[in-house]
C-alpha cells in the first residue's frame, strides 16, 4: 500500500499521543447513529476512522486482525441491538463470532482493552459520541499498541 500524507499518527497539535481507532459499523444502526451524532452536533474526538459495512454479520474477524496489523491502537465494532437487525439476524451471528473470537484473542494474550464491542442504534447519537470518547481515552491511557506492532517487524506488504 502506498504511503499517504496521513500515515503519521493523527495529532491535534498538543503533542500528546493520538491513538488510531478503527471502527467497523453496520450501515443501518451504528452508521446512522453516528450520522445522528453529526446532525445533533455532538462533539467527540477525531481519532476514529469508520469502515461502513451493510451488517455486523458481514464483519470478518480477519478485518480486525488487519486493523491491528495496520497499526490501529484500538478497535470499535458496533451494530444494531439484538432484535433490531435490518437483516433480522446478522447481529446474532456476529455476536456468536465475537464471543469466540474475543476469548481466542484473550487466550493468545492480545489486549482486550483495545477491542470494544457495542450496540449503537440509529437513535443513539449521543451513545456513539460517548463510546468513541471512552475508547479513545482508554486507548490513549494504554498508549500505542507496541506489542502488536512489534510483530510487524519487517513490512508486511
Amino acid at each position: 500500500m502506498e504511503p499517504t500524507p496521513t500515515r503519521a499518527e493523527p495529532s491535534n497539535g498538543t503533542g500528546t499521543f493520538q491513538p488510531k481507532i478503527t471502527a467497523f459499523v453496520c450501515n443501518w444502526c451504528t452508521y446512522a447513529g453516528a450520522d445522528l451524532t453529526g446532525t445533533s452536533r455532538i462533539k467527540y474526538q477525531s481519532n476514529v476512522r469508520v469502515i461502513r459495512l451493510p451488517c455486523t454479520g458481514r464483519i470478518d474477524f480477519m478485518l480486525l486482525l488487519k486493523a491491528f496489523a495496520r497499526g490501529s491502537d484500538g478497535i470499535i465494532v458496533s451494530g444494531c441491538h439484538p432484535n433490531d437487525c435490518h437483516y433480522t439476524s446478522g447481529n446474532y451471528h456476529a455476536r456468536r463470532r465475537w464471543i469466540v473470537f474475543r476469548d481466542l484473542l484473550e487466550f493468545t494474550g492480545i489486549d482486550l482493552r483495545r477491542v470494544t464491542f457495542a450496540w449503537v442504534s440509529a437513535a443513539e447519537g449521543a451513545k456513539w459520541a460517548e463510546l468513541v470518547d471512552e475508547v479513545t481515552n482508554r486507548v490513549r491511557e494504554l498508549g500505542p499498541y507496541r506489542e502488536y506492532q512489534a510483530l510487524l517487524g519487517a513490512g508486511i506488504e
Binding site: 465475537w98 464471543i99 469466540v100 493468545t108 494474550g109 492480545i110
Partner: protein
C-alpha cells in the same frame, strides 16, 4: 490386533470395500498411515498407542477417493471427524465403513454414519487430562505472559502447514491462507503472519474441531498449535453447548444462534 486384521481381510475379500485405511509399522516404534488394498496386506495393519494420525484426513483426499470405497480404522476421534465431514457434506451416509477401535475392546464394524453416531453415543467425549491441564495453566497466566508464550512458540512456526495437512477438517480446496485477492495473511513465515495464520485456523475450527490434537503432534518444531484449536472448540462448547463431530446433521455453532445467547462484553 488380529481381530482388526481379520475384519479388514473379510471386508476386502467380500469386496465391500476396496481399501482399508489404517496404520502400519514400517520399523519398530514408527507408525505411519497405510492403504491396504489386498486381503493379504491386511496383515500389515497395526493399532496401538503409537498410531496418532487422524486417518479421517484421508477420506477427503482425491487420491484416496480414487481407490474406491474405503474402510477406515477408527478411533473415537476418527469417528467424530467422520460425522463432522458428514455434517459438512464431504462424506455420504454409507460412503465409508468404520472399524471402530479404542475404548471398545472389540472391533465394531460401522457401515453408516448413523451407525457411527449411535456408537459414539456410548463413548465419552472428553479432553485429555494433559491438554486440559495445559489449557488451564495458560488461561491462568497473566495476559503478558500468555502473549510472551505464544510469541515465542509461534515465532518458531515455519508455515510448513503440517498442522493443516494433518487435520481432517482442513479439507478445503482453497484455504484462506492461499487466498491472494486480497492477500489476507502474508505468505512468508513471519511473527505477525504466523499469529494470524494460527488465529484463523483456530477460528475456522471452532465448532468443527473433533479435538484429536493431531495438528499438535504433526508440528515438526513441536509448537502446541492444537491448544489453540482445542481452546476455540472449548469456547464454543462452553458458550453454546454445541460440539464439533457430534452428529452428521449440519449444526454449525457459528452459523446458527439463539436470541438469548449470553455475553457480557457488548455495551
Amino acid at each position: 490386533m488380529d481381530e482388526l486384521r481379520d475384519k479388514a481381510r473379510e471386508l476386502l475379500q467380500a469386496g465391500t470395500v476396496k481399501v482399508v485405511i489404517g496404520h502400519a509399522a514400517p520399523s519398530a516404534g514408527r507408525r505411519r498411515p497405510v492403504f491396504v488394498r489386498t486381503p493379504a496386506d491386511a496383515a500389515r495393519l497395526v493399532h496401538d498407542e503409537g498410531c496418532w494420525h487422524n486417518l479421517a484426513t484421508y477420506l477427503t483426499r482425491p487420491q484416496v477417493r480414487r481407490l474406491g470405497k474405503p474402510a477406515i480404522v477408527a478411533s473415537p476421534q476418527v469417528l467424530r471427524a467422520m460425522l463432522q465431514l458428514g455434517a459438512e457434506r464431504q462424506l455420504a451416509e454409507d460412503e465409508a465403513v468404520a472399524l471402530a477401535v479404542g475404548n471398545a475392546s472389540s472391533i465394531r464394524v460401522l457401515p453408516t454414519l448413523s451407525a457411527v453416531e449411535e456408537h459414539l453415543a456410548t463413548v465419552p467425549d472428553e479432553l485429555g487430562a494433559a491438554e486440559r491441564a495445559e489449557l488451564e495453566r495458560l488461561s491462568a497466566l497473566p495476559p503478558a505472559e500468555r502473549r510472551a508464550f505464544w510469541e515465542e512458540q509461534l515465532g518458531r512456526c515455519l508455515k510448513c502447514y503440517a498442522c493443516r495437512a494433518s487435520c481432517p477438517m482442513c479439507y478445503c480446496e482453497r484455504c484462506t491462507m492461499d487466498c491472494n485477492r486480497p492477500q489476507w495473511v502474508p505468505v512468508a513465515s513471519h511473527a505477525l503472519g504466523n499469529l494470524e495464520y494460527h488465529l484463523v485456523r483456530a477460528m475456522h475450527l471452532a465448532g468443527r474441531c473433533v479435538q484429536c490434537g493431531t495438528c499438535g503432534k504433526a508440528c515438526p518444531v513441536g509448537i502446541p498449535v492444537h491448544l489453540l484449536t482445542l481452546f476455540a472448540e472449548g469456547t464454543v462448547r462452553r458458550h453454546f453447548g454445541q460440539r464439533g463431530g457430534a452428529s452428521a446433521r449440519p449444526e454449525y455453532a457459528l452459523s446458527t444462534f439463539r436470541p438469548d445467547d449470553k455475553e457480557t462484553f457488548i455495551r
